[in-house]
């Protein structure tokens, strides 16, 4: 509760709303005690006095009545009516919702049908019909507004109750022989009350507005009694000659409704955990770059893609998590390199950083360089990145159901990928899209081009993902766990397809995975990542048969062997360190069986040329080969 209030007031707008609303409510409460003119005392000699007149702070209306007094009394009435309507609607609506949701079955069905029926009316029609039947008057307007809002409460509360009705504690109460009424009152109701309160806080503003509206139409409070709506309605006749008589009550309604809305928004936001964690931020077109040091000098080599000292952070408020803490990796033309590691080790973030695709905020590239043919892409203008994305460097993502747009046909999505980089006609692009589907061995490519992603199987979808990556004949494909979401047989097909295509087209592939089997099958070289850094790198066969880093060795030991049982499966004890709390020295030290005191002191460098390892005491080749 304390946290809630603190969050609420940290939201300045909500705080402002709370202050304004409390001032208005206090004024309305003490109105009878204030030294005011009687609100209904007419004084026709002093009609339409301007504000700040002698004895009349806000002036007088068309009958010479004191506007300030009428305003405060009207506010009192409007607030009372609005809150009363909200209470009635909440109580009746919640009762209907709880009973329907708890009873379920036919009761639920019939009740909710009735509620839907009421919702089929534009709200004012129903209110007007009720007032027409009961006759104009403030009480009737109140009833009308309350009735109109009952369906909203009934619906919301029913939804929550249905969720509760089959929870363990309700079942337990039922089994212990409690009656339905008692269960509803003692078990269900307390859990529903917060929802009712939130629903009220978001609708009470509306209800004040709606009753004011009915009074404005002359269907609510009747003279001489006046709420804010009827004050405005009466003042309308003199809008042009004495505008202040309209402005005064109008501004008051605006203030009340606005402060309630601000407060209601604040309440809702303070209760929404996603907002607290900042997860509602929208990723920008390219990852932010904030390099504190100039990028490392260009090494003179013939790599197609060269990542040097890449550092990508997630900055969330005061916390900074280092997802990628200085990664170096090179990719030669036509080469397939595997990047392997546990979930959360930063391999995907490193791969996405290449084309600035890390979600930002919170992602920031904080250092290093990514060079494509020697050109540094970190900090390159968006226009340049966009020209390269999908054109020279293409991505294949993990789950093709969520990574393909659900509302475009796969043909359109492929054609778009082509047209983004090539000025070809729609027909030409479509023809090429069909050809691409054929290249990835999708049967009936022409008709499949018209299918939506949800109409295809998982394997088919990933083939579409591969076709999309091939659309512009890129030099490099970055495949981010492309087979993880597929089942094993499909996985094998997709891998074979990728391997064939890579070879036949001379593609360089950066293959991100957590699966050594996949690496063995596909990759020329492999780099092992742990806690945001590469700990070992070398030719695939060499690393697999003789891992030099203890982590690699343990990781390989985790892989079950087919028909095996000869080797002990060993899980690695402990968990990888949190990215915002990395230990000094070797990040693997806390989990390493061979740790020595100096492992925890100072940075350990990645050493070697063809075989690189980041360890002070690498495994001897013979022992690891066992």
């Amino acid at each position: 509760m304390r946290l809630f209030l603190r969050l609420l007031f940290r939201n300045r707008l909500a705080g402002f709303g709370a202050v304004v609303l409390s001032v208005i409510v206090v004024l309305a409460l003490v109105t009878p005690l204030l030294p005011l003119h009687p609100p209904n005392a007419t004084d026709t000699a002093n009609r339409f006095l301007r504000p700040l007149s002698e004895g009349h702070l806000l002036g007088t209306d068309h009958l010479g009545r004191d506007l300030l007094s009428r305003l405060l009394w009207g506010t009192r009435l409007s607030l009372a009516v609005g809150f009363a309507a909200a209470m009635i609607a909440a109580v009746i609506g919640a009762t209907i919702g709880i009973v329907a949701g708890y009873a379920g079955g036919r009761t639920d069905n019939v009740t909710m049908r009735g509620v839907d029926m009421l919702m089929a009316f534009p709200y004012i029609l129903l209110a007007l019909a009720i007032v027409a039947a009961l006759g104009p008057g403030l009480m009737n307007a109140l009833i009308a507004v309350a009735v109109v809002n009952i369906p909203f409460f009934a619906r919301n509360i029913r939804g929550v109750t249905v969720g509760l009705a089959h929870r363990e504690f309700v079942d337990a109460a039922r089994l212990s022989g409690m009656g339905h009424t008692r269960i509803l009152l003692t078990e269900v109701l307390p859990n529903v009350v917060p929802v009712i309160v939130i629903a009220m806080s978001t609708t009470v503003g509306w209800m004040i507005l709606e009753t004011a509206g009915l009074s404005f139409l002359g269907l609510g409070s009747q003279p001489p009694q006046a709420d804010l709506g009827s004050m405005l309605g009466e003042a309308r006749g003199a809008l042009i000659t004495a505008p202040h008589t309209s402005i005064v009550p109008g501004v008051m309604i605006l203030l009340i409704v606005m402060s309630i809305n601000l407060l209601g928004d604040g309440v809702r936001d303070a209760l929404d955990p996603r907002l607290r964690s900042g997860a509602l931020a929208r990723p920008m077109a390219a990852t932010l770059v904030d390099r504190r040091e100039p990028p490392p000098a260009t090494p003179d080599d013939k790599s197609l893609l060269r990542i040097d000292g890449l550092r990508t952070e997630f900055r969330m408020g005061r916390r900074t998590a280092v997802a990628v803490g200085g990664v170096d990796l090179a990719l030669a033309p036509g080469e397939c390199v595997g990047l392997i590691g546990e979930s959360g080790c930063g391999k995907s973030v490193a791969a996405l950083s290449v084309m600035g695709l890390v979600a930002s905020p919170p992602g920031v590239i904080a250092g290093g360089a990514v060079r494509l043919d020697g050109e540094d892409l970190v900090g390159a203008p968006y226009r340049r990145l966009r020209a390269l994305r999908g054109n020279r460097v293409a991505y294949i993502f993990q789950d093709p159901l969520s990574t393909l747009h659900p509302l475009y046909t796969v043909g359109d999505q492929l054609a778009e990928a082509i047209r983004v980089h090539h000025p070809v006609s729609r027909g030409e692009a479509h023809a090429r899209a069909v050809k691409l589907l054929e290249d990835v061995r999708i049967p009936n490519p022409a008709s499949r081009a018209g299918a939506f992603p949800h109409e295809l199987s998982g394997g088919m979808r990933q083939r579409v993902g591969i076709a999309m990556a091939l659309a512009n004949d890129p030099d490099i494909i970055i495949a981010d766990e492309p087979t993880t979401a597929l089942d094993v047989t499909v996985q094998a097909q997709v891998l074979k397809l990728l391997a064939d295509l890579g070879r036949s087209r001379g593609l360089a592939i950066l293959f991100i995975t957590h699966d050594f089997g996949v690496v063995a099958q596909l990759c020329d070289r492999v780099a092992v990542m742990y806690a945001g850094r590469i700990v070992e790198e070398g030719p695939t066969a060499a690393v697999l048969t003789a891992p030099a880093h203890p982590y690699t060795a343990r990781l390989i030991a985790c892989v079950p062997e087919l028909g095996g049982g000869r080797r002990r499966l060993e899980a690695i004890p402990g968990l990888p360190p949190a990215a915002d709390d990395l230990p000094d020295g070797c990040a693997f030290a806390p989990r390493c069986a061979k740790v020595r005191p100096d492992c925890r002191e100072g940075d350990v460098a990645l050493e070697g040329t063809a075989r690189k390892v980041r360890c002070l005491y690498p495994e001897p080749a013979e022992r690891a080969a066992e």
Binding site: I124, G135, S246, G250, L254, A394, F397, L407
Partner: protein, 315 residues
């Protein structure tokens, strides 16, 4: 698609039926009998009784209901005693005026609301976002009738840019430019609240969609950011925005009642308020049923648009 439309049309029949029941029941609550209301307090008992028999009010409630609905289905909404004119004629005249006003306001709120919501989401926490958010808070809090009055004061009285009220000029008007000049203020005043709601929910849905994986895919393809936002993201967000537009149509229709009063617009909302004050029951009944039926029809259109946009909905 055809089958889907047919299904939605069929499912509307019980809703329409329910609407007539609700309206009829509410009207049956009226204390006293309509004949007295029509003939006035000084009518003789014989006259009251004769009129009751003539109106069929001496029969049981359920019979009255079926007679009334039977007539409605045949297009006979009865006769307004205050206007001495068939209810349906009056409704059709007035509804066309409301349609012009509410239709314009609806198109405005949909276009402006969506554009503002998308811009706001695309520039989250930027200057445009803050400005739009502030405008939205103000927009959803101001009573439309008060806003209308203030607009009259500013644009019609002080600046003299636009006419104060009415649908056409009394003399020499009647053409389209004249209509547009009269329509401008009421349509804007009417659309403002709905625009705010649409903008706010569009923004929320856009923010939701922009974090999805397929947006990253579009960016990875090299799709221009403008097209990512206004194509890929907006299209996906529209799936949630369209039902909101359906709801807003109801709010616009409701708000039209106030705006028609403020701007003296000869629409069905003003007709209903007048009819209530004069206790012209048949006119109220007919008007409410007619507008509610139109709203149901509109919501079918919304559902069809939704199904057309989202291929996953079909069947």
């Amino acid at each position: 698609m055809g089958a889907y439309i047919l299904k939605r049309l069929v499912s509307a029949i019980p809703v329409l039926f329910g609407i007539t029941v609700i309206v009829f029941l509410i009207m049956a609550l009226i204390p006293g009998d309509p004949a007295t209301a029509i003939l006035g307090a000084y009518a003789t008992p014989e006259n009251v009784e004769r009129l009751n028999r003539h109106l069929g009010l001496d029969r049981p409630l359920w019979q009255q209901y079926f007679v009334w609905v039977g007539n409605l289905v045949q297009g006979d909404f009865g006769r307004s005693f205050a206007l001495n004119r068939p209810v349906l004629d009056e409704i059709l005249d007035r509804f066309s005026a409301t349609l012009v006003l509410a239709g314009t306001a609806f198109v405005l709120c949909a276009l402006l609301g969506i554009v503002a919501g998308v811009v706001s989401a695309a520039r989250q926490y930027g200057l445009a976002d803050k400005a739009i958010t502030a405008a939205v808070i103000l927009g959803i809090s101001v009573p439309s009738f008060f806003l209308g009055m203030m607009m009259i004061l500013l644009f019609a009285v002080h600046l003299r840019w636009l006419p104060v009220s009415g649908m056409y000029s009394m003399f020499g008007g009647g053409d389209l430019p004249d209509l547009i000049r009269h329509l401008a203020m009421p349509a804007i005043a009417l659309s403002l609240v709905a625009t705010g709601v649409v903008a706010r929910l569009t923004r929320a849905n856009m923010l939701e969609v922009l974090r999805q994986d397929f947006i990253r895919t579009a960016r990875a393809k090299g799709v221009h950011e403008r097209r990512v936002i206004w194509g890929h993201a907006l299209r996906a967000a529209m799936v949630s925005v369209i039902p909101i537009l359906g709801l807003q149509a109801g709010f616009v229709l409701s708000g039209a009642v106030y705006i028609e009063i403020v701007f003296q617009w000869p629409g069905i909302g003003r007709m209903l308020v007048d009819a209530i004050l004069k206790r012209d029951i048949l006119l109220v009944q007919g008007g409410v049923v007619f507008v509610a039926a139109c709203y149901v029809g509109f919501n079918i259109l919304v559902d069809v648009a939704q199904a057309w946009l989202d291929p996953r909905i079909k069947t």
